[in-house]
Each structure stands twice: as C-alpha cells, then as structure tokens.
Symmetry: D2
C-alpha cells in the first residue's frame, strides 16, 4: 500500500504542471509493488489521432512514463532513457478503458529494464501494444 | 515546392484540433521531398519532462509523426504503426532548436519503413535521438 | 501432441543441412501448442563468443528461429522478418541449460507478432534476454 | 591504415576458432576508421535459410559483430550488448555481395551506440536491413 500511494503521488506530481507529462493527467495508478506499476486511462479525444484511434505517440508516452514509475517503485531514480521500442498490435478508440502494465525485468546498478503491456479492457483485454524500455539509472553516464 | 506546401498543410491540419497531435503545434515543416520530411521546433516547457529535459515521450511522438508525414510525401496514406524504436543519445533543454529528419527507407505495397534523426541545432547538430518506424499502409491489415 | 511432433519435425528439417539454421542443431523443441513453442539447448563452445559467454548473434538467432516455429504452430507459413529487437539482460556460459519460450501475441492475415523470453535454467531461471519479432506472413508483400 | 589493419586482425582473431563467431569466417573487413567499420561478404549456402534467402539470424549477427568492431575502432573494449534491433527491408540470395556498414553514433563512458546499414552490392546497393546496437562498455555493469 505504501508503494501504491507513493506511485500515485509521483504520478500526480509529474503530471501536474506545464511539462509534457501533463498529457498523462487522466492516467491513474491502480496498482503498484516493488518494480511494478499498473495504470488505467479512459480514452478521450486528447489521446487520439485525427483518425479517432489511440495515438502512437501517446502509446509510446505511456510505455515511457509507466515503466519509469515502475523503476521508481524499485527504489531507483527515474534515470534517463537509453532505448525504447513499441509494437502496435490493435487499435483502441474513444471511451475504451486502457490498462498499462509495467514490470521491471532487471534493475542493475547502471541500467534498469522494463516491459510494458497495454491492454484494452473494453475489448476483452486485447493487447493494444507491447513495449520495452531501457533506462540509465546511475548517477552519471 | 508542391511537396513542401503539401506537407505543411498536412501538419497544420493534423495539429490543429483537440487530438493528441496538438502536442506538435509548434513543430514546423521546413523541407520535404519525395519520401522525406524535415521539421524544426524550439523547445519550450510543453516539450520537457519535470527535470527540464526533452521528454522521451515527446521524442517518440516526433519520430512517429514526422516519419508519417514522410510516408505521405511518398504519396501514401498515413497507415498504421507496426513497430517503432528510439535510441536516446543526448539531452536537449528549453530554448534549444531541434531538427527532425525523417526519410523513408522503403515504401512497399503493404509496408513503409522510415528512419528518423533528431539533432540539436543549438548544440553543434549533436544527435539527440535516432528512431525507426514501420507502418502498415495497405488498405486492410 | 500433434503440434509438438510437428514442431520437432520442422526444427529437424530446418537444421539438418548446410544452411545457417545448422547453428540450431543442438536446440531441442520441448513443448509446443497453438502459437507457442518452447525449446532448450545446453550451451557449448559453438554458441559462445570469444569471451566465453552466450553470443549475442546466437541469442538473436534463437529469437528469430523459435518465434518462427511458434508462428508455424499457429498454422501459418514461416513468412519473412519485418522487425526484430532483443534486450540482453544477463550472460550465460558453457554448460548452462537455456530455455527459449516463444509466444505469438497476434496472428493476423498479413502480420504475425511474437515475444520471446530466454531464461537460464542453470541459474534460477534468470532472464537472459527478451525479444520481439514481427513477421510478414501473407503470400505477397 | 593502422585502424584498418587492426580491425582486420580483430576479425581474424575472433572468427578463427570454434566459437559462434566462426559463422563470420567469410566476412572481410574492407574499410575502417575511428568508430567505423565496413565489411563485405559473398553469400553462400552457410548464410542462408532453407528458403534460399539471407538468414535473419545471420543478418542480426552481422549487425552485432560489425558494430562491435566499430566500437573497438573507437579504442573501446568490445563491451556487452544491451539492446539491438533490426529492420528487414529486402531479401538477398546466394552469390550476392553484401556490404555491412557500421558507424558509432556516440561513444560515452558507459555506453556506446552504433547504427548499421546492410546493402546488396549485387542489386543496386539496395538496403537489405538496418539495425542499431547499444553496448555497455564500462568495466562494470
């Protein structure tokens, strides 16, 4: 519970302001444990492309941000991105409830690695995207 | 010149509205030719993370969006993302002028492939990130 | 059982000959079901780099080949690679028993997507690498 | 010239033995400079899949190995792979002469980053594949 409350506090702090993180304002942390973070968001127009589907850039931002919170849930600093990849598997649309599940695969001294599954709760938990994120978490590169 | 004007029109249409693409409002198309698109943006707070650096999610959105315009500059529909990857090489900060250079590596019947270099014009054209984007451009997946 | 026997037959056919697949000769299919394939290999010198660790190129070949068998276990042709990525998490050495677990995330008409976990059974099932593979499986690209 | 001779010596040392690197035996270093390495190979049966095309696992091995030599051409140790990705663009077949061009994008204290283009000299320098490779080159991970 302490980890969940902490993750929620981080998400609120990060998204509450004029930075790019404000695109995550409606994303809610629903579960968190050591090295893991699960979020949910109900898609509205601000998350979509002009074609009315979940925007690939927002999907990438979800992979980036939720995995970063997962790293912080392993008592590490947010660090700096090294490599990120996303495979896009199915679309999602306005009103769909999306679940973002990030899990650290390894947290080392210098690098942390996380995998992220994005599922559509409004469509049988269908996989929307899967990503992986490598972060440099040591004090200095 | 017709391709450049067309690319500028696409970017204006896409970013002008309540969709996620509005995060790209300040990104300007400065050059375009068949299968290529170059943009520029001066970084302000809305592009940064809470640490004051270019946000990894915005970087990914640049890779996604500018490569999509490059595909459209090859007379193709915007299509749907299949795979995207980004390698983050150096930070950028408020006030820096960032150049995003997207080039199609191949435009087939079903798939289009583009590579994207993001450079910091305020820091000796230092490479900020490099990405690759595969899109499904056929009518039906 | 029919799927397992079929996967074993595919692996034997593919590796038995002068092609590059012969590097997989010692890799054994131990389980298979619709869209899934699990293999094992005991590492010897032929799988290592000059430093005595599992070679990154062989790791990539495992991701490629075992995910391809998983696609064939979903009654699809082997298809053609589109995108592949590998994150390397921990080393493995001579004598270690390595498990390669490939699972299709989605099998569409044109594209198939698989994720692959490589674990070290001689080291507490530690994750050695994780990869993802997108294949074009339609008759013509 | 000293860098080229050194790169050739490294490639010979690495491929001459019973390790997995022996799959690279016929790959020749044709040019090298600080942080760059270019190789060539004429494809024979040992580089192909059962369908008679360049094997995706061998392609990945080329990305891995030639970029590692490029890192060593920047006076760094070979290091350990962190992330690698490959986009497959066009096939190549027996007898084709393939050029592998690796270039370091950045060589830091802890991490080195390289991009690799693989082109088919027998087919108008058509791009066969493009990859990126992130290596951990510090003494300790």
């Amino acid at each position: 519970m302490a980890i969940l409350r902490n993750a929620q506090r981080i998400m609120k702090f990060v998204t509450n302001g004029p930075s790019f993180d404000s695109v995550m304002t409606k994303v809610e942390v629903v579960a968190a444990s050591h090295g893991k973070c699960r979020c949910e968001v109900t898609l509205d127009e601000s998350h979509l492309n002009r074609g009315g589907s979940l925007h690939g850039g927002f999907t990438a931002t979800l992979v980036d941000s939720v995995s970063t919170v997962a790293v912080m849930c392993a008592d590490k600093p947010p660090g700096v991105s090294v490599d990120m990849n996303i495979t896009y598997l199915s679309p999602a649309k306005e009103g769909d409830i999306i679940e973002i599940d990030a899990e650290c695969l390894k947290v080392g001294k210098t690098l942390a690695f996380a995998t992220v599954d994005i599922r559509n709760k409004s469509n049988g938990d269908r996989l929307v995207a899967q990503g992986r994120h490598t972060k440099h978490i040591a004090q200095q590169s």
